[in-house]
Subunit: 461 residues, 2 copies
Amino acid sequence: MSKNAYHHLKDLLGSDYYDAIEDRITYAYDGSGLKHLPDAVLMPRTVDHVSEILRTAGRYGVPVTPRGAGSGLTGGAVPPAGGLVLTMDHFNRIIQIDTENFLAVVEPAVVTADLHAAVENVGLFYPPDPASMYFSTIGGNIAEGAGGMRAVKYGTTRDWVMGLEVVLASGDVIHTGSKCIKDVVGYDLTRLFVGSEGTLGVITRAIVKLIPNPEAIKTLLAVFGSMDAASRAVPDIFQHGLTPRTLEFMDKRVIRAVNRVVDSGIASDAEAVLLIEVDGPCEAVEIGIEEVARVCRANQALEVLVARDEKERERLWKSRRSIHSALEALPFKWAEEDVSVPRSSVATMVAAIEDIGRKWDMEIACFGHFGDGNIHVNLSPRGDRDKAQRLYAARQELYENVSSLEGRIAAEHGIGLVKKEDVRWNIDEPTLNLMAGIKKLLDPAGILNPGKVFPNGMRDQ
Amino acid sequence: MSKNAYHHLKDLLGSDYYDAIEDRITYAYDGSGLKHLPDAVLMPRTVDHVSEILRTAGRYGVPVTPRGAGSGLTGGAVPPAGGLVLTMDHFNRIIQIDTENFLAVVEPAVVTADLHAAVENVGLFYPPDPASMYFSTIGGNIAEGAGGMRAVKYGTTRDWVMGLEVVLASGDVIHTGSKCIKDVVGYDLTRLFVGSEGTLGVITRAIVKLIPNPEAIKTLLAVFGSMDAASRAVPDIFQHGLTPRTLEFMDKRVIRAVNRVVDSGIASDAEAVLLIEVDGPCEAVEIGIEEVARVCRANQALEVLVARDEKERERLWKSRRSIHSALEALPFKWAEEDVSVPRSSVATMVAAIEDIGRKWDMEIACFGHFGDGNIHVNLSPRGDRDKAQRLYAARQELYENVSSLEGRIAAEHGIGLVKKEDVRWNIDEPTLNLMAGIKKLLDPAGILNPGKVFPNGMRDQ
């Protein structure tokens, strides 16, 4: 890194500039397990700081990798080219919760679950619920386009962002969107930044939409003798006009893994489990959950448990919540995949995944969000021969199957470093070229989170 | 227009190429009343046609104005620089209604109400309902970011577009979004095109999201003795956890105008009316509409009428539906404005509009969508002196007030030709420059709908 840039930024940031080796190590990795040392870590306190940092970095060609809580799973916050990590920790205020217009103005480092708590406290609801919500931040959620379990009814983070303040690579500060439900003034730039993984700008403020807290929630767990039976129940639920707020599934391998670590109450010969929640007005929820139970039974559910109170609800969630630790406890090193298909193709996709596992001799375990088509596939090659090659081949076949079902190779975990060579499975060349053109327009020197999202060697990269 | 371009396009399109004066006149205007003759009108049948048209236009520098049904109110479909009008009439198929995944694939010339009917026929619901829906098209709705009455609960067109096929000015065909609820592959380009008024590309196909048809709808009309009382009722309704699907208002002048043309049943000394609909599961709707009625009464409603059947529902809608003809029947030439503010500021805004009317000696009549903050302001200068100047001054004061309340100068009718000099009320210079940069990137020769959206003399225009 240029010495001049270093001096200038140290002057600007004072004690918010870190370059001790222990600081650099702390900010070298994220949830993906990938690691690369930055040259310095900056913790700006103002939008002007962020502007000046980007202007300076642009002048000296120093890479800048913006970072939230570093919980991302695809390397979005890892600085592969070194340079600066820009960590937004000081931007941690909930600036406004507007109980009349149902919106909140937040800074990016607000932890998502803290926003949940703050708005629920005044009777409102922010639906996006990525699994990381107790430590990930709103800024990171926006940058990654984070999803969650409630997406089946409420969509993902992108559906809840009304407007953004963003510092561009030039140092210019722009404002997208507004507090208005109806707004057609100029181009709608908000979503261009949602899911752009810090490659187009640094988010310094967001307006998010809220809704009234649902009056009631009911939870149900249904056990099936086959994945096929479970997957027939799902469209049937929707055909009855019901839109659950969560509709999770676990395959038999996940069920068995879970049963090794918790008393889930699920029979170990179960082949598939659906965990379903309905929310809304009290009466509608009572009727709705009974209807869901009826539909599950009509589709050969072996057992249907409806939680009668919060304690029982917690018990039903126990299995779902322990998936991660249950899979970790097995003697396999898992590669976790995150793909999505239109809901009606989940069963086809799970069957295709079985075939892929057999073909490439792998342990496979699937769970995820049946209702929104998002499958988390855990792959672990058996034996020692050609593990990396088999994993690569299996992943390519997975993406091929996903694409042929009009699905996506990345659903809610981003592209980052991990999947950048695979985006062409979903994005044709003219569209990818346009994306690269937009990147070039917004960041001509290529300083913002370089090496992410786009395949290596892309034109304009 | 270059003779070569003309010959080439005539060869390509054959009988779908029109340049008789009567054809050119037919496509010279839109709902704004503005008019400019195109040199030729093209009615392409395939995406390849559209590509070739744009490539040819680019080569010869011929302007291309894409057009849906021409019902827009701000001149978006008028070709101020002449050239080609590209009317999409042949792209009129509903390609797929996916009853399992709740989405439809449509071509742009599908009339919005026809899509409503087709999906409702299989138990599904496409919520956006611009007033023009019986003649406007999905493509036009997307290009303009059209709103409607149900936006208070369901948002506007932009909230229902999952993906687009777009022909760029270069002739390249791109694909944004997907059929997946969760999709984080590459940048999210869909919304960049929604509301871009044909300045960034020509939409040739769209994937739109659907939901199950609500089980029940109930309608209520509440009459108030003051706008203040009506506007206190609105937040109170939302505070009770109710989100109506429509929440319309009329001011006293609109009520009196309506009473001259229909038997509305509303007392002529009423100062404000709210027309409210609740939808959802049967039981919740019954309870919800009673709650809304109770809240209106608690806020000094003089009268609350709840429709007991479809016939009574039609009767309550009669006044709302006759607003346009009622205002037209008055001896005033109205200029209609379309602004929005956060819901809690509607009453403040209506009072400010009264002041503006008094100051500039104007007839003023307001109605619109209280629930989403969208006010349609009708202005008509009294007397003959300096009418245009006073109208200009009143509009500028309107925009100033709107902006100071964090509102928007255009809510659902676009910018087009009519408001392009006013966008700086809402958009700061760095943001406007970015928009202009994106326009330049996507349309370097400036052939796509030139003269729209951006102020004259803007850098890069």
